[in-house]
């Protein structure tokens, strides 16, 4: 049995009320959209999604990580390997980035399923993450939302077994962004929907169902990720499904159109409450379409993924539209900062990115950063490498308004990590009262600052 073993969704904590966009530009969009913070991007959200999917410690045996996104922070430099390093996967794995359209996540999923199916991979992580930027004031701006999702594909403990997969591919200019454009461009949406979406998605779904010899009426849930949510019901009908009873509701109102992450988020939502043997179809559009038929297993009952509603809970409102613009870099902000020299980055990769400290073999003290002489007993040269946990308790803190960082007030937090070690990090995603002595926090990989034409990523803490 090949399929999805674990699934996790991540939504940035910030919520932009669409009324704020309407206030700036006119228009009557309602609801909220998820918004990546100023220190988040598709890479960092991808790391969070991996944690949501497999927890903080990767199980042994993961031998591939595929990253799908249209908004990767690098056009040249592999993001999959950066995610794999941050979650401390071993070096001997296959990594690849998928890009080009919001089908990137499903392309990565297909590659993972094929790799495991062919026996060339044991277990593959699929990470789909998007933080797409729409033109300020444009029609897409209130629609987009930021999210990431991850799926572990393997042959063991499968919760959603792969039945069939099918794709169609066709050149069509609907959404695009050239290498010189910053904002996602959109053509005539009505035309794009009618002559591309409504053809490609039902065709792919139909092909997958035919291969499975499964009538549409036997599908428990149909999850379709579409650029225009109004098109979902029509797609469902064309595929032979009942939009009222079979279509998984989109997250448009509370989160937005989620790009590459959306198919996996909707799949997770589709699996909620299913019984073993129930069929789920997940499909997504992007100059063609991909569709997959999965069958829920008994393992789903034992290990259901965290619900999407749970992952969406606890949002904090963004105070203004201007803060959204600043978070996305539309309003520039130069707070300075020195780039980590490549040499130091290489030397300290295990300490700074993989998050290893030291443990003293003389007294047992776990400590960070890595030390030659123990901080506690001062024994010389008795330390060994020690992987740190990513959860802990606030030992002390301050809420700083002076430090040179993009957003104030900013917590600076000293954390006692579970399993030992003390670390001192910036706080992020905090509401009033989230940081106090004794509060539980979690480490999160974020973009610390940029300088010298490149970016520094490092760990911060957020409320647990």
């Amino acid at each position: 049995m090949i399929g999805i073993t674990k699934l996790g969704s991540y939504f940035p904590r910030r919520r932009l009320d669409r009324a704020l966009i309407g206030k700036a530009w006119g228009g009557k969009a309602s609801g909220t959209r998820t918004m990546a913070a100023i220190d988040e991007d598709a890479l960092t959200m991808g790391v969070e999604a991996v944690s949501a999917c497999i927890g903080e410690t990767p199980a042994a045996g993961i031998d591939a990580l595929y990253f799908g996104s249209t908004s990767a922070p690098y056009l040249e430099k592999q993001v999959a390997s950066m995610v794999a390093t941050a979650v401390d996967l071993p070096r001997e794995i296959v990594t690849a980035d998928f890009a080009g359209s919001v089908r990137a996540g499903l392309g990565a999923l297909r590659a993972a399923l094929d790799g495991v199916g062919a026996g060339s991979l044991h277990a593959a992580l699929v990470v789909a993450s998007d933080c797409r930027l729409a033109e300020p004031g444009g029609e897409l701006e209130p629609q987009f939302g930021d999210a990431a999702a991850a799926a572990l594909v393997s042959r063991h403990d499968v919760i959603a077994e792969l039945v069939t997969a099918a794709s169609v591919s066709e050149e069509f200019t609907y959404f695009w962004r050239t290498d010189e454009q910053r904002y996602v461009q959109v053509a005539d949406a009505r035309f794009g929907n009618q002559y591309s979406v409504q053809r490609d998605v039902p065709d792919a779904v139909g092909a997958a169902l035919r291969k499975a010899e499964l009538p549409a009426s036997k599908v428990a849930r149909l999850a379709v990720a579409l650029p225009d949510p109004r098109a979902a019901a029509a797609v469902a009908k064309k595929a032979g499904c009942n939009p009222e009873t079979q279509l998984v509701p989109l997250l448009t109102a509370e989160a937005g159109v989620l790009g590459s992450a959306e198919p996996l988020v909707l799949l997770s939502r589709a699996l909620e409450g299913l019984q073993p043997g129930d069929f789920v179809v997940v499909a997504g559009y992007g100059e063609g379409a991909d569709a997959f038929v999965f069958r829920a297993t008994h393992a789903l009952l034992a290990h259901p993924p965290r619900t999407v509603a749970d992952a969406l809970a606890g949002g904090i409102p963004v105070a203004s539209y201007e803060r959204y613009l600043r978070a996305r870099g539309v309003l520039p902000l130069d707070v300075g900062g020195e780039l980590v020299p490549t040499y130091i980055e290489w030397k300290e990769l295990k300490q700074d990115t993989r998050l290893w400290g030291s443990r003293c073999t003389a007294c047992g003290l776990v400590q960070y950063p890595q030390e030659v002489v123990c901080m506690g007993c001062h024994a010389p040269g008795k330390t060994v490498d020690h992987k740190l946990r990513r959860e802990g308790t606030v030992f002390t803190f301050t809420i700083d308004n002076l430090a040179q960082v993009p957003e104030h007030p900013m917590p600076m937090v000293v954390v006692e990590l579970d399993g030992g070690g003390r670390i001192y990090l910036q706080g992020t995603d905090c509401a009033d009262g989230d940081i106090a002595v004794g509060k539980r926090v979690r480490l999160t990989y974020r973009r610390l600052h940029q300088a010298g034409g490149n970016r520094n990523y490092y760990w911060k803490v957020r409320p647990a």
Binding site: G337, Q367, Y368, T398, Y424, V437
Partner: protein, 381 residues
């Protein structure tokens, strides 16, 4: 060390936003005042120690600014740079040089023009990722919040430190901030790094101070009666306390260890000290210091502040100068400025701020926070 070094002259510029005087001019102002105070010909200076954290416009990371300002050429001059203990450590090095018998008369100058570097405190050094995002108030605030959590004291108590030090500083014409303030003003001021509001923080200040030390055999030939160095000790602890799992964040080990060493040299204890200028970069730091220096048990210092025991006329007057809080804190100058306060108090020259029957005075710096601490004990007998 005890009684092997005499302080024969001290000088201090007006502290504040000294846009009117250049870095080397401030050095001259402080040194000339010390020459005058001692009645000494600069030609008699055999060596010098120069405490400065950030180099001046011409000096670079060397001692040449002092040589160029004063034209003290052809002599050994060493620049000392040790976080906020820079000034007291420069003084300590001068004392060691004299006590060792290598030189007879040594000048110490501490100088800093922080305002020439913009208005927002100190520039940041250090690792581009680790501990990134810290600020000076934010680093000390980690201790303050842990202390307040542990011992139950509130921001009002911290505010009383500021009120007391401003009261002293208002009576000191060389101090930077000379207005008296109220607890309410402190509590209502904008937050800088919780629990510190604006008035919990020392200002960003320009200034310079100087002292001249000599061998005991030569101490009586100058204008004023000598003040004796009883002890001068430095202790260095971790510069990354926030990563140390064994650190309780309730005070600073460097101060405890430097104080013990200084008391041992001086053959005295905390109860023998008449007054102390301690490192009140932030209000809580003063509370921590008076415990770490042994004047109060750990966790009791805030009660002493509440009881007024650290005010002028109290059990142990702390920061009669106004402290860093009111007098200002030009990093390298501060420690030497504290020596200036101790010497003038021990001579009985402090007028309205004079500590009665002052016998032993202490100067204390802690920086890092907690990475370095220097304690100097001076006496008039």
């Amino acid at each position: 060390m005890k009684d092997k070094v005499a302080v024969i002259g001290v000088g201090c510029t007006k502290f504040g936003e000294r846009y009117d005087r250049g870095y080397e001019e401030l050095i001259c102002d402080a040194a000339f005042a010390a020459y005058e105070d001692a009645g000494i010909d600069p030609a008699a200076i055999e060596a010098a120690y120069f405490g400065t954290y950030m180099p001046g416009p011409h000096g670079g990371k060397s001692a040449v600014s002092l040589a160029d300002a004063l034209k003290l050429y052809g002599r050994p001059i060493t620049r000392v740079e040790n976080y906020c203990a820079t000034g007291t450590d420069a003084f300590r090095n001068a004392c060691i040089t004299v006590a060792s018998g290598v030189y007879d008369v040594v000048l110490v100058v501490g100088a800093e023009k922080l305002k020439d570097r913009g208005g927002r405190g100190l520039p940041r050094f250090g690792h581009p990722l680790l501990a990134r995002g810290n600020s000076a108030p934010g680093l000390f605030a980690l201790g303050a919040n842990r202390y307040m959590h542990t011992f139950g004291c509130g921001r009002e108590t911290l505010a009383k430190v500021a009120v007391k030090n401003h009261w002293n500083g208002a009576r000191n014409d060389k101090a930077h901030l000379r207005q008296e303030i109220t607890v309410e003003q402190v509590l209502k001021a904008p937050m800088i790094a919780s629990p510190f509001g604006l008035f919990d923080c020392c200002p960003t200040t320009d200034g310079a101070a100087a002292a001249i030390v000599c061998r005991p055999e030569l101490a009586k030939q100058w204008k004023k009666a000598p003040i004796w160095v009883k002890g001068a000790a430095l202790a260095v602890e971790t510069g990354r306390p926030f990563f140390d799992p064994t650190f309780d964040y309730l005070g600073f080990r460097s101060t405890v260890k430097a104080a013990k060493a200084a008391y041992d040299m001086a053959g005295c204890g905390p109860s023998d000290i008449s007054f102390a200028d301690v490192h009140d970069c932030f209000t809580w730091t003063e509370i921590s210091n008076i415990e770490d220096l042994g004047f109060y048990e750990k966790g009791q210092g805030w009660k002493a502040v509440e009881a007024g025991e650290t005010a002028l006329g109290g059990r142990i007057p702390i920061n009669t100068s106004g402290g860093l809080k009111s007098f200002g804190h030009p990093i390298g100058a501060s420690g030497v400025r504290m020596i200036y306060e101790c010497v003038t108090q021990l001579r009985g020259e402090c007028g309205e701020r004079q500590v009665k029957n002052a016998r032993l005075g202490m100067a204390h710096n802690v920086g890092g926070p907690g990475a370095v601490a220097c304690v100097v004990i001076l006496g008039n007998g």
